[in-house]
Amino acid sequence: MLKYIVKRLLILIPIVFGISFIVFAILSFTPGDPVMNILGNGADAQAYEAKREELGLNDPFLTRYFNYIKGVLTGDLGQSWNYNTPVSAELARTIPKTLMMAVLSVGLMLLLGLPIGIISAVKQYSIWDNLSTAAMLILTSMPLFWLGLMLLQKFALDLKWFPATFPTDGMGTWKHWVLPAVTCMASMMASLVRTTRSTMLEVIRSDYIRTARAKGATEKRVVMKHALRNALLPVVTLVGLNFGLLMGGALVTETVFGIYGVGYLLVNAVKSRDVPLVMGSILFVATCIGVVNLLVDVLYAYIDPRLRSQYVTPKKIKGEEE
């Protein structure tokens, strides 16, 4: 298993660099002038050219890319053109917030979504199933920014249960995270509930479940010990996918609640053509998604032992003929 993990991590490296190349190419060839953003629209021609030279924008595309990668390999992600601060410092500031948002949102999604999905499956076509279907439909149809604002209006302004703004420094208290986590989670929960429900329904109808019941196992044991574990694989895939995406920043949630994480940083960097900051953010996001996918694959092996053989090279038995 360890060999598998190391192999996957090594494969991740060229993947991340491949992504960085594509993104760098897009940034280089799409319209938009980073120098104009830096110097303002009143810059004169001489200064404009001097700035282009300073940023290396007159160099060929491949030269610029390789210079950038050379920096990355020596630990230098460059300086933000917009903020004039090291890209690493900007990422260090925003990553903890994004990580917290992702962890809380996914955690809340699991805490609420899994039980609802299980109950919907076990009590298929009951009032609970219908209610959860309706609720998930409403949640998935609701625009995130609207939901966020409505939660702020109700719980921060009217009821004053939670703060309306995020502190300018630090990570705030748990109360600062409740509304953003609920907002972020809402869009993902519907798919988790529906996926859990459908995989549980599939598993519950299996022969071994019938056997377990026949052997006298309680319904709770049948569902939680036998059925759930077998229904978990697609759920784990979904959780991993959502977590990875959230590491790219939940921009709408971040903007509404003023939690300026990687998403906000990345979008502003793209708007201002701040190439070093975009590249640094993308490298981070791509790496996160790759690592999360690896963790999901490893988790598969723990959930379903039958899959472990895929991750382990079989040992040759002595004397076995080839």
Partner: protein, 536 residues
């Protein structure tokens, strides 16, 4: 296993973060406390000492000459002082760092006597050398401030408190320009020591680049404490401020990209003031007894339509006049500013020195517009592109104009481009909306940089010798009556040639908690936070 994982994640919420920051605590304290235990970390027996101001715009720079966006203006007004300041109520220039000044008879030499009790935030005493160095460096480098040092040649110090500024020609707005918010005086020794070899003495340094990332050090009522890129700026009261220490010990300016969320924060009391509150929220704020809406509609923050004669359709003045006749400016003003702004009839702000009443404006007359189009050879109209940015400031008026021009047969395609500014600078557009704040409200600043031949902001790329001549005369004429006559003639050219159509202006808006006193909406967005107090 997943349930266990989820439970661990949820339980970990309890260990999140630390205590409240002073800013949030103070803000919730002022508003009645959003949650238990979050009251007034910064509140003293005499009242609030910490203030949180939200702003719905970005802040590009906290250095003079670094940029000219409104966020930069607001911050500069807290960190720096200028030689003079403008009283926008009386229209008079008043002393600030300079306690008095004289102008030579030929109006080429300005002598300023500086106050002797001014210190920079790091303790350095302000001397004439700082002023001289600041002015000379700005003039040498390509900063925004240079554009306001018209005909400036050099400055020299005489002793520690006398500054003599020499001009090569008479500039009517010389003193007015020195009151510009971005004319804050720098500490020479501090800047050179911090920048070292990075200080560009070649004269090629540009606006945002000039000072690198060193912390500001001015003489203003507040001193820099901390900056979180793209999020907030924290500043502390200057204990030794020569006009008296501000009421608030600490002020945090918080950038809030979502205006709706910002309004909720203001209503919840978590921010004490909201700069650039959306005009669409005026009614909601005025109906809230805990909030006050401050507005100043007499701003030099102008919005106009540019008509580029490089487009073949716009080469005929009759077509341009037809467009002017087709526009309903009231409708544009309401759509663009939610009714808070005023319709404009002149390219010169009414509050500007040298303002002259413009000729009678084009009143909407669709039949006349169609007749002019027919005379110009377009009886069935034509198609034309109008570029815009994604910002509502540009998009809203563009879409209204599109609908209005359709009524006379001109099919406008509104194209949103990321390259709007570079396209406009390269004159690569046909129709386009522009908005700029004329921070030094003087007729010269409203016209010369935008319409004189080959000026870098002459976006419509016009070259009218008669207009150039009038603008040259206007900037050198100090007699107000004669200036008005000159600009009156200039406006006739604007009216006849129609290379730009003034539309409306944006009001300066700030919404605040009712307990925040002495708040005034400065027409140039230079909020005087040092004058604000808190009274419950």
């Amino acid at each position: 296993m997943s349930m266990l994982l989820a439970a661990v994640m949820v339980l970990s919420m309890a260990g999140c973060g630390g205590g409240e920051t002073n800013a949030t605590a103070a803000a919730t304290g002022g508003g009645g406390g959003a949650t238990s235990g979050e009251t007034s970390g910064g509140q003293t027996a005499s009242g609030k000492t910490d203030l949180v101001v939200g702003i719905t715009r970005g802040i590009t720079s906290i250095w003079p000459g670094g940029e000219n966006d409104q966020g930069t203006i607001i911050m500069n007004n807290q960190f720096y002082n200028r030689l003079l300041k403008k009283n926008y109520t009386t229209g008079e220039l008043e002393p600030e760092l300079a306690k008095s000044w004289t102008v030579s008879d030929d109006k080429l030499t300005y002598t300023f006597e500086l106050r002797d009790d001014v210190y920079f935030h790091n303790g350095d005493k302000l001397t004439a050398e700082d002023v001289v160095w600041t002015m000379n460096e700005w003039h040498k480098n390509e900063t925004y401030t240079k554009d306001y040092l018209v005909f400036f040649d050099h400055a020299e110090a005489k002793g520690d408190t006398t500054v003599i500024m020499h001009y090569t020609d008479v500039y009517a707005a010389a003193l007015e320009s020195l009151s510009f918010t971005l004319m804050g005086i720098l500490d020479k020794s501090y800047v050179l020591e911090k920048m070292g070899d990075k200080w560009d003495s070649s004269g090629n340094a540009q606006s945002r680049d000039v000072y690198g990332d060193i912390e500001p050090n001015g003489t203003g009522p507040f001193q820099f404490v901390e900056k979180v890129s793209g999020e907030s700026y924290t500043m502390a009261a200057n204990e030794k401020y020569f006009e008296g220490k501000p009421a608030f010990d600490k002020v945090t300016v918080k950038i809030m990209s979502d205006a709706n969320a910002a309004l909720v924060a203001l209503e919840a009391g978590e921010i004490d003031a909201l700069s650039h509150a959306p005009s669409s929220d005026k009614m909601a704020i005025e109906n809230n007894e805990d909030l006050v809406w401050y507005e100043n509609a007499d701003t030099p923050y102008l919005i106009w339509l540019m008509l580029n004669e490089a487009d073949e359709h716009l080469q005929n003045p009759k077509v341009r006049q037809a467009i002017a006749y087709a526009l309903n400016k009231e409708e544009i003003a309401i759509a663009t500013t939610d009714g808070v702004g005023q319709v404009l009839h002149s390219p010169i702000p009414e509050s500007a020195v040298g303002y002259a009443a413009p000729p009678a404006d084009y009143e909407m007359d669709l039949e006349k517009a169609k007749a002019l189009l027919a005379e110009a050879g377009y009886p069935d109209g034509f198609s034309i592109e109008m570029k815009t940015t994604s910002s509502n400031t540009y998009k809203k008026p563009s879409t209204v104009i599109q609908a209005q021009l359709a009524k006379i047969g001109i099919q406008v395609t509104v194209t949103e481009v990321d390259t709007y500014w570079s396209d406009v600078a390269a004159h690569d557009f046909s129709l386009g909306v522009m908005n700029l704040c004329i921070y030094v409200p003087d007729a010269d600043q409203a016209l010369y940089p935008l319409y004189y031949t080959n000026q870098k902001r002459n976006y419509v790329n016009i070259s009218i010798p008669e207009l150039d001549s009038l603008l040259d005369q206007g900037r050198g004429e100090t007699d107000l009556t004669k200036r008005s006559e000159i600009y009156s003639k200039a406006q006739q050219i604007f009216h006849d040639e129609v290379f730009m159509i003034p539309l409306c202006n944006y009001a300066a808006i700030i919404a605040a908690n009712k307990n925040l006193k002495n708040v005034e909406a400065s027409p140039v967005f230079a909020w005087n936070i040092s004058e604000w107090t808190w009274e419950e």
